[in-house]
Subunit: 378 residues, 2 copies
């Protein structure tokens, strides 16, 4: 049936496509060179690594090029997003403008942990005299902490209180004291009690495995003498991070939902799956992209440190109360479903739709674009 | 502070980058033209829209180009994936090879529903005499169904049994009867009882909003006279879909987990959020990409049809039993957590890690790549 002429034609077309891909790669390489030069200039100019207006322009330009060349909607914009991400990574870790130059040390207590190492690297790349004080360094504490301009406590949550108190004893009186603990109200209170100087609570909303600080969220909770902490927030912005300021109480309330409850539900789903142990390969074979993605979000938890999740979930009584309320609500829903009470199901569904409001549709669109990307990977 | 010469230099570099992006768009436009010509040839050659070996080659070629031009790992491969997806979309909906050409009709009962319309369009684009029989067309049933070569029942789950029986009365004796119901064992049994000819159960694992059939999963459950259904599965493969064959019982067991339990947990999370109604904007501002993604997966449910999810969750007693067991398991975990019993938490965590095995790490890597893409969008 197959016509040899046509098959040869197909092969010829494919060779032309491959040659074109080679040209594409060449152009992208040129683009990265230009971007590296721009990054070096930006660092000299003390201008932030990430520019929202430049990124917005690139997206508009992508859309304009889609029009000009009659390309499918979003194609050029998506390609530029992917290339721009690489630009941050390539330009990241090199050098950043320094918001507050001083010779006095910026010390990370717990600087050998994952987060400590990440931030040390960023502070050093920005020209700070950034030092680590880890568990074996306490005999040198007077020397390391005695002249510190800023100290950040980055230690496991159950050690935070003890280490804050221990650290405060060595600080010069104008030193800014910060911490990275994920529950902010108790840590901030401990700092304010143990230290009479400037205080700032911080919570980086990411793990040490990020590829770049660009667009990452860092929460800042004011403690004392806010002006003294501003340089730190400005420095984070220089790295491309998004600083979100709110009170420690608001932060902790949101984290009970965002972290504790969500991790609990993911944990329970995984534990239950392990108990009934269905054949995972078959489950994946039968899964559409969205189910695969949901299963990935569950399974990925168990590749990580159990103690980390244990600490997050059990970090406050508030978390446990929220989780108990959730379990009660789930039990109520189960009752409707056991009775096949479709009316109540639909009623509750529509109440939730009202709560999510415009976000429901936005989430559907955003996740739709993302699921298309999951498909690309298969 | 800012040096005007350097600022001008930065602007100049940015113009060069923009000019280069214009060239990139031009090349991509040329590439799409070549791909359209290849798609037309493939259709003539009766070769499948999607070629796994060609896609694998493009990924290798991408990696080779990354080496050649010293590009960052995965950049070229990712860009090609995105462009290739567009090629399917652009080439899709045009024309496909027809696996079994016959003038006799292929009828979709429920052809005006979302899935019915999607498949009608694909069958028509492949040269089939594809017809719809919808709820207002039953007076023409003898005419539409009387000469049918194949009939697919694509109606809401609670109508499936009735419509199968109604349809069977009109079919010529060699007609292949299929259905798209999401619970396979009862539907397949009804078909086997109501119809003495060839029978095949099908379950497309996607909704009508997909952009292309490429890489989508369709489950096939053998009914009677398997040979007669092979053309259908081959046709799905021509469209680029992945056909997964398994028994109706296995399918239903897997779907209780993949669909019913997962939707139930998502539903309960959304209902609970609506009940405590935290400020969604603040939650999103404070969310890292993974929390944002998880919240999107919850919120997106509520932009969809409540009846669809109600029907999926309540479609079998098996589902309700599984969900009850899940609720019990969650209650047990809650007890450990309320007691701050870290030891039990870690023990269960490690048991689940063992169950997920190599998948846990794979999920972490795959979702990591995906989360980087979520960041691109922000």
């Amino acid at each position: 049936m197959t016509n040899p002429v046509d098959t040869a034609q197909l092969e010829k077309l494919r060779s032309e496509i491959d040659a074109l891909d080679d040209k594409l790669a060449g152009l992208i390489s040129e683009r990265l060179t230009l971007v590296r030069r721009a990054a070096a200039l930006k660092s000299e100019l003390k201008s932030a690594a990430y520019s929202q207006s430049r990124e917005a322009f690139l997206q508009q330009h992508g859309a304009a090029l889609e029009d000009k060349y009659e390309l499918p909607t979003d194609l050029m914009a998506d390609l530029l997003k992917r290339i721009v991400r690489e630009s941050y990574r390539t330009s990241g870790g090199k050098s950043f403008a320094c918001v507050k130059s001083t010779e006095r040390p910026l010390v990370i207590v717990g600087g050998q942990g994952g987060m400590g190492r990440l931030f040390l690297q960023y502070f050093k790349a920005s020209g700070y005299n950034a030092l680590s004080l880890d568990k074996d360094d306490w005999d040198r504490a007077p020397e390391i902490l005695g002249r510190a301009m800023t100290v950040i406590i980055s230690v496991p949550i159950d050690l935070t209180e003890e280490i804050i108190k221990k650290t405060a004893a060595f600080l010069p009186e104008d030193c800014l004291l910060c911490d990275f603990t994920s529950v902010k109200a108790p840590a901030l209170n401990t700092m304010l009690e143990a230290w009479k100087g400037p205080v700032l609570g911080l919570h980086p909303m990411f793990g040490p495995d990020i590829r770049s600080m660009v667009k990452q969220v860092i929460v800042a909770c004011p403690g004392r003498d806010e002006g003294r902490g501003q340089f730190m927030l400005e420095q984070f912005r220089q790295w491309g991070a998004k600083v979100c300021e709110c009170s420690a109480v608001e932060h902790d309330k949101a984290m009970s939902i965002i972290q504790a409850l969500r991790h609990f539900t993911t944990y329970c789903y995984g534990i239950f799956m392990a108990g009934i142990h269905p054949d995972l390969k078959q489950i994946l074979d039968l899964s559409s992209p969205i189910y695969r993605l949901e299963l990935e979000m569950v399974g990925r938890l168990f590749a990580q440190d159990p103690h980390l999740y244990c600490d997050i979930i059990m970090s406050s009584q508030q978390n446990i109360e929220l989780i108990s309320d959730y379990a009660k609500s789930l039990q109520q829903e189960l009752e409707h479903i056991s009775r096949c009470d479709k009316k109540t199901f639909v009623k509750h569904f529509l109440q939730a739709r009202e709560y999510f409001g415009d976000y429901a549709g936005m989430f559907l669109r955003e996740s739709g674009a993302l699921l298309a990307k999951v498909q690309d990977e298969r």
